[in-house]
């Protein structure tokens, strides 16, 4: 009998499942990868086998133009990895296709969350609390100051600004996978049915979402649209295009940014944002701590983010926790 959890090992480039010779979200090409979701820092290309949800595999195919070695797993489905390890994919509520992965081996249960949030999201099924012994969580917004407001409030702010500036457009910087589609879907739910204009880099991902049944309403490309048509409208682009030359084709844009970092004024000012929208696809501090309480693991491992504060919280609440110091994960997909 080996020591508890010795079959799973955090290495700098990912979490390794030793008996199955597999990795979770590895930062470099491996023979066998279990991928939680399609963000680039979690889903790298070049693996021999990639085990992920169909949506995540479709996203990876869009990005890496190959689906060699793709092995689809539905939510709720359990696959045997060999070596006595099984993996079950469970919704994480982060973006389309995002999954937590439950690993079971010799009666021990380990959940790897990938990235997750607890709020309702019209583009993906909600996070499911899964009891386990070891809970491996992210901590992107792991500071008590991060409280994401209800998204309805932020969408209302966006629509109010759009209405107040009939001669300008509101340009929303949003991560091209997940955030952009969620903002668009939420705008539709709030009753905004006018065309929404897209930066070219977002077009394919939006179509992919629609192929998976997420309705986004009428989308038009900025490149195909005369400037005047976009007055009083909403335009969505990747954050990197804000303040880029590309934006000169827009009618006097109001710069907005949809990100959890917008909670901090100085962050918004650094980016020259006029309309900060606190919209995040990650758990905020309260969701992170509530989730640990609900899952109630024997031990928490923290993959990436602001782990010091979450470690401190565990200490204050007499819970066991450790930081894994993984490399290669970034906060880009905020």
């Amino acid at each position: 009998m080996s020591a508890p959890f010795s079959w799973i090992r955090p290495d700098p480039h990912g979490i390794r499942i030793l008996p199955a010779n597999a990795w979770i979200d590895p930062a470099r090409p491996v023979d066998r990868a279990l991928v939680t979701h399609g963000h680039a820092d979690h889903a790298r290309g070049g693996h021999g086998e990639t085990i992920a949800t169909p949506a995540t595999l479709a996203i990876m195919k869009l990005r890496y133009a190959t689906s060699a070695g793709a092995i689809p797993v539905e939510y709720g489905e359990t696959v045997a990895l060999g070596g006595g390890v099984s993996a079950t994919y469970i919704p994480a509520g982060h973006v389309l296709g995002s999954a937590q992965i439950l690993l079971e081996h010799a009666g021990e249960r380990v959940v790897i969350t990938g990235d997750y949030k607890r709020r309702a999201d019209p583009t993906c099924p909600p996070f499911e609390v899964t009891p386990c012994d070891v809970f491996i969580t992210e901590a992107t917004f792991g500071l008590p100051l991060f409280t994401h407001p209800p998204i309805e409030e932020e969408i209302a702010k966006l629509l109010a600004r759009m209405g107040a500036e009939p001669d300008r457009c509101v340009l929303v910087g949003a991560y091209a996978l997940g955030k952009a589609q969620r903002v668009i879907a939420e705008l539709r739910q709030a009753g905004h049915h006018a065309p929404i204009y897209l930066h070219g880099a977002m077009e394919k991902m939006c179509h992919l979402y629609e192929d998976f049944g997420v309705g986004l309403g009428e989308l038009r490309l900025v490149a195909d649209t005369p400037k005047d048509e976009m007055r009083g409208a909403i335009v969505v682009c990747p954050p990197s295009a804000l303040g880029d030359r590309w934006s000169r084709r827009l009618p006097d844009p109001v710069t907005a940014m949809a990100s959890g970092w917008m909670r901090v004024r100085q962050r918004a000012r650094q980016r020259g944002v006029e309309l900060p929208l606190v919209i995040s696809d990650h758990a905020d501090w309260h969701e992170l701590t509530r989730t640990v309480e609900e899952v109630n693991p024997a031990e928490t491992w923290i993959t990436h983010g602001r782990e010091e504060a979450l470690l401190r919280w565990h200490q204050l609440h007499q819970r066991r926790a450790r930081a894994l110091a993984l490399v290669g994960y970034e906060d880009e997909d905020d």
Partner: protein, 532 residues
């Protein structure tokens, strides 16, 4: 308070001057008295609550948040007020008291003492949401930093109520927050507040650049333009104040000038310090750098007074013995000023001399020949003109000396704001610290964001993007390939810059697309122009 908090946040995220003016003006129109008056006081730095310190806020937070979580959060945010407003815990009982008005907040903050603040400040914080708490703490600790100058706030006031800014400036200085008489005058048409019995700032008369114009010296008088700071000395009922060009009270920095004025008067002149520049037209005025030693000080040491003694070179007299002379023509005011001189101590006052020339061409020759560093150029004043505030066409002209020129190499470019936010429009340039063909390096010597056309801006932007070597947020470093001919008024030693010097008013005069970078000037050439 929520409206004020919303204004503060909107100002935080707005960079354009006109947009800021509009935000403040809209707030003033939509907000009742006395809240809008307190808001003006807050924006113009006119409120002080000594019982509340940044350390008070930290102490309150330490009672409520784990110290490790607090310091991790504080480090991330970088600002105590914002961190506290974000981390303030929701009150245990749901508070049914409505959020306080700005008036209530100001009243309660004023009433707080060192003893009561730890009990009373939380009661206010409990009634506010996050933006409200942020505004409250910023207001209470006196660190609003909304990127709004007092002048901008008063301009917004003038814009809101469609009243002349000069009148706003004149009446403002005698009023205390929340400025009820000012709002009654501007918003409701009441008579303006009386100002003639107080030592208040009167708006200056300003000059247009001469550009290509030629004037007839029969109509205009010429006078040197001195390189000090424009000052207004006001004495009413024996009480004296000194004001800078923007209307800031600088009396504390120049106590000897406040003490030296023996008559009730309002005088317009140039504040200078005595220095080693003997003889010449300057009559012993030191360079601007020497004057800078005296600026911005709340108290002045004896050594300062001895080493950098100030005096005022008088240009004009606006009020004398209670009589407003501003409606009189310049010739009559000048006579009154000349006869006033014998009543003023020569140790602290002299008269700005007139520059006599038979005609404009002769005057131009005199200007060319002026070598004194304390002279910025010439002023041309219409002989029959009254003293009117602001810049009026055709009354006063400034005719600056030709600028100094140096060829510099573009090093960094930063994105602008507002309409220029997608253009790299702010340029940092440098000079060689030796022979560039022998491996010399560039040292940054200045920054400019003006002096080029929109077409040139588009070309510069393209150049920056195509020649980027590194990016740091909104800043790009470029290859050392483009030469600017930079014009500037003067250059001085500076400890704050790596190159050891600082230019005054640098602007881009020409873009030398044709000139190879290694032919740009060396730092020694610039250093030779220092006249400190």
């Amino acid at each position: 308070m929520q409206h004020f908090a919303a204004l503060l946040d909107a100002l935080t995220y707005t960079t354009g001057r006109n947009a800021k003016l509009r935000l403040i003006a809209d707030y003033l129109l939509a907000t009742p008295d006395p809240d809008r008056g307190w808001a003006m006081a807050a924006l113009t730095g006119g409120l002080d609550f000594p019982a509340v310190k940044s350390s008070t806020v930290r102490a309150l937070m330490h009672e409520r948040v784990d110290p490790v979580l607090w310091s991790l959060s504080r480090d991330f945010v970088g600002d105590t007020a914002e961190t506290a407003s974000l981390l303030w815990p929701a009150p245990a009982t749901i508070d049914v008291t409505p959020p306080p008005s700005l008036d209530e907040v100001v009243g309660r903050l004023s009433a707080m003492t060192r003893q009561s603040v730890m009990r009373d400040l939380p009661l206010l914080l409990d009634r506010l949401d996050e933006p409200g708490r942020y505004a409250l703490i910023k207001l209470a600790t006196g660190a609003l930093r909304a990127g709004v100058s007092a002048r901008l706030a008063r301009t917004a006031f003038a814009l809101a109520f469609a009243v002349p800014i000069d009148e706003v400036e004149e009446y403002w200085h005698g009023q205390q927050p929340p400025y009820a008489p000012l709002f009654a005058w501007a918003a409701d048409g009441a008579p303006p507040p009386r100002t003639d019995h107080l030592p208040l700032f009167r708006p200056f008369m300003l000059a247009h650049p001469l550009e290509e114009t030629e004037v007839d010296l029969a109509d205009y008088v010429a006078e040197w333009k001195w390189d000090g700071i424009r000052v207004q000395l006001v004495r009413v009922n024996g009480e004296t104040r000194a004001y800078s060009r923007s209307g800031d009270d600088i009396s504390a920095s120049f106590p000897e000038m406040v003490a030296a004025l023996p008559v009730d008067a309002v005088l317009d002149g140039e504040l200078l310090v005595r220095g080693s520049h003997q003889g010449g037209e300057s009559g012993g005025a030191a360079s601007f750098n020497a004057l800078q030693q005296r600026l911005g000080r709340k108290t002045v040491s004896k050594a300062m007074l001895a080493n950098y003694p100030a005096f005022v070179r008088l240009y004009d007299v606006m009020v004398l013995d209670g009589e407003d002379l501003r409606p009189l023509p310049w010739t009559e005011r000048r006579q009154r000023l000349e006869s006033l001189m014998e009543h003023l101590p020569a140790s602290h006052f002299d008269l700005s001399p007139l520059v006599e020339a038979p005609d404009f061409a002769a005057l131009a020759a005199i200007r060319e020949g002026a070598r004194d560093e304390a002279i910025e150029g010439l002023m041309l004043k219409r002989r029959d003109s009254p003293y009117v505030s602001g810049r009026r066409v055709g009354l006063w002209y400034k005719w600056k000396r030709d600028p100094l020129l140096v060829d510099c190499v573009l090093m960094y470019a930063q994105r602008g704001s507002g309409k220029r936010s997608s253009f790299y429009s702010d340029y940092t340039f440098g000079c060689w610290d030796g022979d560039p063909d022998q491996g010399a390096d560039l040292l940054p010597v200045g920054k400019a964001y003006s002096g080029f056309t929109d077409e040139e801006l588009a070309l510069l932007d393209k150049h920056v993007r195509q020649n980027t070597t590194q990016r740091f947020g909104p800043v790009r470093e470029t290859t050392r390939s483009l030469v600017f001919e930079v014009a500037f008024d003067s250059v001085h030693t500076s400890k704050r810059h790596k190159s050891g010097l600082a230019m005054r008013f640098p602007r881009i005069r020409r873009i030398r697309w044709d000139k190879p970078a290694h032919e740009a000037d060396r730092i020694d050439a610039l250093r030779a122009l220092i006249k400190d």
